[in-house]
């Protein structure tokens, strides 16, 4: 075995993040590591990458025991990591981002020409095209991911850890990435793949290790397993099959008429969007990210201004109205980007929880601390948000746990209309089931929900009606019981409806 991690344990005070974990990786193997948020995957990988010291246990690379105290040690032993949050320098070029740490040059001089040449050679060798002279900030997320992988390869890694590599990619980019991983594995590189997306894992992995609560609950061969078995190992119980009842449509809650938003270079970002969302239905908006969905949500929620068109919420015209007024009229919003719109990173769990509820949770202008804590504590319990305490800053929560907190907060608003944008991004299967269940419950209680997601399975599972967006326009509307994945994919890519 190329890599052996034996009896790894890691405690943070009384909390055991990893207990007695054994993990092995062979040459050319793609080994997936799955588990719920907070199951200990990231901790294990941080230990392997020298960012954390294990409380006990040993790491063997090529049979030799190793002790890593910094990432630099791990890199020297041929271990590279692509982090979930990209570790790139936006204003530097692609070549600079790849060679950093081992820059070519003599006498402390940095030979940028040699760097460009090295990157070109590397990109040819591994069949991952990049433009070495492009600034990273102008690269798409897919290319940035490629830069990260090339950086790790440049550092001479044989073991490559990928932490949630597909979370931010478009379906096409995901496909390319999976192909690239397989090709690299056939060239002798070994991968450890952390992901929530079980379909992708089934497609690419050779072996799968499942963690739950810091313990290994199963190591299975990808050929001899299925998604249900893995889910069971992850959650520790069978997932309930969700049944959607036939919708009982009420009056229209949201009406959007001819909504248009200007873009750069004369091409509108949203082009004449017209649709309705009725009480008691979930309308899904499908589309490759960057086709106007974000702007559409922004205009409805009052975060961005539309150049023309009208938005009506519960019978009142809210076009261009301030966010507060729209929210008071009955909007709750699980935003697509949890860090930009959904949370304040430096604020605590309680503080983030009370956002949007503050006006109800006050007396004479003072916050009602005890009742607020009780409210947030209830959500943390119900949604199983893994947090140190209610006073932990949310930047220390894993992305999935923060997402649960935001979803709980917005669902608790109890408004007639809810925008759920990427409501389960980065969330594990157990929590996904829970959030999906809550959304369906809200719909059955005559709530109107606009669901925006780049996950087709999510759209198909929850929506009663599906709108497909392409280049700012709504190019198709399908009832969900008639829609197929192929049909929607075609529309998303700009093809015509058959």
């Amino acid at each position: 075995m190329l890599l052996n991690m034996e009896n790894i344990s890691k405690s943070y005070g009384p909390v055991k993040a990893n207990s007695d974990i054994n993990f092995t990786l062979g040459k050319g193997e793609i080994h997936a590591l799955v588990g719920e948020n907070g199951a200990g995957k990231t901790t294990l990988m941080r230990i392997l990458y020298g960012m954390e010291k294990p409380t006990s246990g040993s790491i063997l690379v090529n049979g030799k025991p190793q002790s890593f105290s910094t990432p630099a040690d791990a890199i020297k032993s041929g271990i590279g990591m692509v982090h979930q949050h990209f570790m790139l320098f936006p204003s530097f070029t692609v070549a600079e981002n790849i060679v950093i740490g081992q820059e070519p040059g003599k006498w402390n001089g940095f030979d940028r020409k040699a760097a460009v040449a090295a990157v070109e050679e590397l990109s040819r060798q591994y069949g991952m095209p990049v433009d070495p002279n492009q600034k990273v900030e102008s690269c798409s997320l897919g290319v940035q991911q490629r830069v990260e992988i090339l950086k790790v390869l440049y550092q001479g890694a044989d073991i490559i850890i990928l932490d949630e590599p597909t979370g931010v990619l478009t379906p096409l980019e995901v496909k390319e990435l999976l192909v690239a991983i397989k090709r690299l594995a056939s060239q002798g590189k070994s991968f450890i793949l952390i992901s929530h997306k079980l379909q992708e894992i089934m497609e690419v992995a050779d072996r799968i290790t499942v963690l739950r609560d810091g313990r290994v609950t199963g190591v299975v061969d990808a050929k001899h397993t299925d998604i249900e078995q893995i889910s069971r190992l992850m959650v520790g119980r069978d997932l309930a099959q969700m049944q959607r009842s036939t919708p009982k449509l009420g009056a229209p809650v949201l009406e959007v008429k001819g909504l248009t938003m200007p873009g750069d270079r004369g091409k509108p970002l949203v082009d004449g969007a017209t649709f309705k969302v009725h009480a008691g239905e979930i309308v899904g908006v499908a589309g490759i990210s960057g086709n106007g969905q974000s702007e559409l949500i922004g205009a409805i929620a009052g975060l961005q201004a539309a150049s023309s068109g009208q938005v009506t919420l519960t019978g009142q015209d809210v076009t261009g109205a301030p966010v507060r007024k729209i929210r008071e009229l009955g909007l709750a919003h699980i935003p697509e980007d949890r860090y930009q719109w959904g949370a304040a990173k430096d604020a605590t769990v309680v503080e983030n929880g009370v956002m949007g509820h503050a006006r109800r949770q006050q007396r004479f202008g003072l916050m009602r601390g005890r009742s607020i804590r009780k409210m947030v504590e209830g959500w943390v319990k119900r949604f199983e948000v893994k947090t140190g305490s209610l006073d932990t800053k949310v930047q220390f929560l894993s992305g999935g746990n923060l997402q649960k907190l935001i979803a709980a907060r917005e669902l608790a608003q109890g408004t007639p209309f809810l925008i759920a944008a990427e409501p389960t991004r980065g969330v594990d299967v157990g929590a996904m089931e829970m959030i999906h269940g809550e959304l369906l419950k809200r719909r059955d209680e005559q709530g109107a929900i606009l669901l925006v997601s780049s996950e087709l399975t999510e759209i198909l599972k929850l929506s009663d009606r599906i709108l497909v967006m392409n280049e700012g326009r709504i190019v198709g509307e399908l009832p969900s019981d008639e829609a197929t994945e192929e049909q929607i994919s075609l529309l998303m890519a700009g093809g015509k409806r058959q």
Binding site: A72, I75, F86, M87, G101, N108, G109, R338, Y339
Partner: protein
Amino acid sequence: MDQLFDVSLFNSALRMVTPILLAALGGAICSRAGLFNVGLEGLVLFGAFFAIVGNFLTGSVWLAVLFAVVCVMLFSLIFGYLSIHLKANAIIVGISLNFLALGLTSFCLRAIFHVKGAYYDKDMKGLPQLDIPLIKDIPWGGGVISGHSPLVYLAIILVFVFQYFLFRTVRGFRLLAVGENPVAAKSLGIKVTRIQYGAVLISGLLCGLAGAQLSLGQVTMFTENMTSGRGFIALVATMLGQSNPLGVAASSMLFGFMDAVSIRLQGFSMPTNFTNMLPYVVTLVMMFFFKNKSYVQEARKANESSR
């Protein structure tokens, strides 16, 4: 007008530029490493004071400059320890440092020299004026360029040294990386705190030199609050020059020139208070024209997801 814009005006402009330029380069190095050093004013003031103390104690100009540099580096280390190690807000630390410098130098002026307001000793030697052979004989430019203290020439050389360092060397590249994304730099095994301390110490060194030029360059004396905002001007020059050594040099030149003009105008029976305003008015006006576009980008960046 001919009387205003003559050789000696440009000559004094170059002299006035030097403290601003040195301090601004220090600010630039810090901000490139991700620390916004608001304490330049205080560090320069310390430099000016300790240069005089060093001169008084040792009697040697060069030991005095060295003394000033070492002392200011120690003070910059306070800034570094608080803002890097203890993660205190760098702006607050910088502002405190400025007030500390103002109070401490005035206090020590009394404690050491038993004077109030200013210390002047006619026997004390200042920095030598270098007459550069050949160049000094060039009709107009020679008069401007030649006849300055060595620190003036050093400052100009340092502009190019820093330009080369930041954009042509590995160390400089890593310093830029630390400033751009410290988390990513750390994940690559780059020693982030060490580089940041290095930048802070370099800025201390430069501010020490700036102070020495101020108190030993033209006049050999120290007055309370003798920097009178030059450190803040340097801060503006840092921003205006986008922390780019050449850009910083250009903006420092502008401010130094305005400084010289304001002093010259006093000779034209303009009220002193009015002419003293001039460099600061220009600073404000410049901020209108050179909106720092990178700030817009920063704001945008800060708004983006940290995915």
